[in-house]
Symmetry: C2
Subunit: 344 residues, 2 copies
């Protein structure tokens, strides 16, 4: 009924060499309290035996598991896998495992998810919060990935600047009438993006916001956004706050016989996988997920390893200082609006 691991443990190595397991531990951890030649010998036999330390044993002793929790609103939503991948990669490089928890739709489940992670003794938690969640007093270091306009400390992409980048580019192509497309006026991320977009609409330009209604979101076939009318009304730039909405707009316009990008431009956000594959490709904006993940993980690790020194257990700690990472424009549609539209 021993731990079902391949290998040996410290005391086996110790017995084999006639030393104490403390010495083996010290030699392997390289804390320098063991002579060079003994260290060498110990390392060699450890390698021979294929020894890997029991992280469970270590965790019980040190109080740290080397595992972080990642709480996501909805893994199946195409926005989050990129973040999950980046977090997993950054955590893994920092020597941490990542336990996932999907909050699947409700704030209540999100709280459950966080509690389950804490019960599993994670050393820290990365949360991509659901709309409107305040991360209450969690007894564990936390890093929040959200929008810069969320109150409190967060790590995030600079969604405002991303919105600016898109509209600046469209303005430079000659566009003046913008239809901004979102679906959730309560979302900080969406508001940041739209705010940035609006801030770049020139004096002689105009922007409307189209908020897609909830019942239009879970639509069957035939639930259109009425974009053809918008084209007739002179809008030439359809600026979505996500690639998914952009895709919806693009197919609706194409289906209606509107030529993209000759007649109108369609832009998205996030550079999801299909953006580069469809015809025409989607001009979009990409967050630097690797850097966001690195910042979040680094902050978390700093707090965790600082705690190791102190006798006081970590209280509710928000690990990262506010930091926002620039987004990058990806241009795939280069034509401007047709002359007649420019006159109108």
């Amino acid at each position: 009924m021993a731990i079902a691991r391949t290998g040996s443990n410290l005391s086996q190595i110790a017995a084999l060499l006639g030393v104490s397991s403390a010495t083996v531990s010290n030699a392997l951890s390289g804390k320098g309290r063991v002579s060079a030649e003994l260290t060498e010998k110990i390392r060699a036999t450890a390698a021979d035996l294929g020894y890997t330390p029991s992280l469970t044993g270590r965790a019980l002793r040190t109080g740290r598991t080397g595992v972080l929790g990642l709480v996501l609103p909805d893994i199946a939503n195409p926005l989050f896998p990129q973040i999950a991948q980046a977090i997993e990669y950054a955590a893994s490089n920092a020597g941490y495992g990542v336990l996932i928890a999907d909050s699947r739709g409700s704030v209540a489940l999100q709280t459950d998810a966080i509690n389950r992670l804490i019960e599993r003794d994670v050393d820290g938690i990365i949360i991509v919060p659901r709309l409107g969640t305040r991360i209450a007093d969690i007894d564990c270091p936390v890093a929040v990935i959200d929008s810069p306009s969320t109150p409190g400390n967060t790590v995030s992409a600079d969604h405002w600047q991303g919105g600016q980048a898109v509209v600046e580019h469209l303005v430079s192509l000659g566009h003046r009438k913008f239809l901004l497309i979102g679906n959730n006026p309560a979302s900080n991320v969406q508001n940041d993006r739209i705010g940035g977009m609006k801030s770049c609409v020139p004096e002689d330009g105009h922007a409307d916001v189209l908020w897609i209604e909830r019942h239009e979101q879970s639509h069957g076939k035939g639930s259109l956004l009425g974009l053809q009318k918008k084209v007739e009304a002179g809008f030439t730039a359809f600026v979505a706050i996500s690639d998914l909405h952009a895709l919806r707009a693009l197919t609706e316009l194409q289906r209606a016989g509107v030529a993209v990008p000759e007649d109108v431009s369609v832009t998205g956000f996030d550079d999801l996988v299909w953006s580069s594959v469809i015809t025409p490709g989607l001009t979009t904006v990409r967050m630097n997920t690797a850097e966001i993940a690195d910042v979040a993980i680094a902050a978390l690790v700093r707090v965790i390893e600082a705690d190791a020194g102190s006798a006081i257990p970590a209280g509710p700690v928000v690990a990262a200082k506010r930091s926002s990472v620039p987004m990058q424009l990806v241009v795939r549609q280069t034509s401007g609006p047709p002359p007649k539209a420019q006159i109108a």
Copy 2:
């Protein structure tokens, strides 16, 4: 330097009530060796103190961590998040946590990922293997989610039957000339899907396979599949082995002025998020990820909990018997080919 947990531990509860920690343990685990009234009292104070057991302590003692590893080829690929979500949900319901490992592109990294999980003492591993991987002797219970035509035991959707469902439906709409679109002739999943499709092409019908080349996959703008020519050649059904390829085909056709679904039909596979949002919606086929996850997790849990009885550590065990779960057709395009095409 104690474990940084909110709460109390067994011996605190024991001390408070003047009983032994063994009794507390037995009372809480409900193994029935404690009188009803004492059990009640112990439970009450445990609840008062907000006691949650240390899973690390338990793991060290029992040799089981209550954590499963999930190895995915590429989380950012839109196929996998659905599976990840279903696995997390099923595992969570079974009382297990899920540690993720992304094998990010190479078989070597997949092996690393598996090893990292094993070093973290996971009780079992769910692998969605990279192409062509043989799951070698892993010293840990394993469930593989793949295609039914993969050798060895796997849990999977019945991709062949899914392919049949799509083509049967298209045949019933009147289609006879099918262009099947895939990108990887080495993939068991793709071959199953295409095999099923071909098996349903009627005597008077015809199917070609278009394998998208690798350099066409990572294309910039303007790399087209030449589908317009296929339309001219009389193909009316564009049957992709994934929604992503279907989307690519749909936008290329729309851009070329081909009316979908009036002139030709486009179908996909997997019912990814955009399938229901674009215009026209994509007819596709959905795997029952919940059931696949349940089967995989149940099989794994059975092996793990059986091992608990035996003194022999778990060898390489493939947990699940071969089982394949039917896929479900989702119809979003209902028109057949135009009469002229039916004549041709």
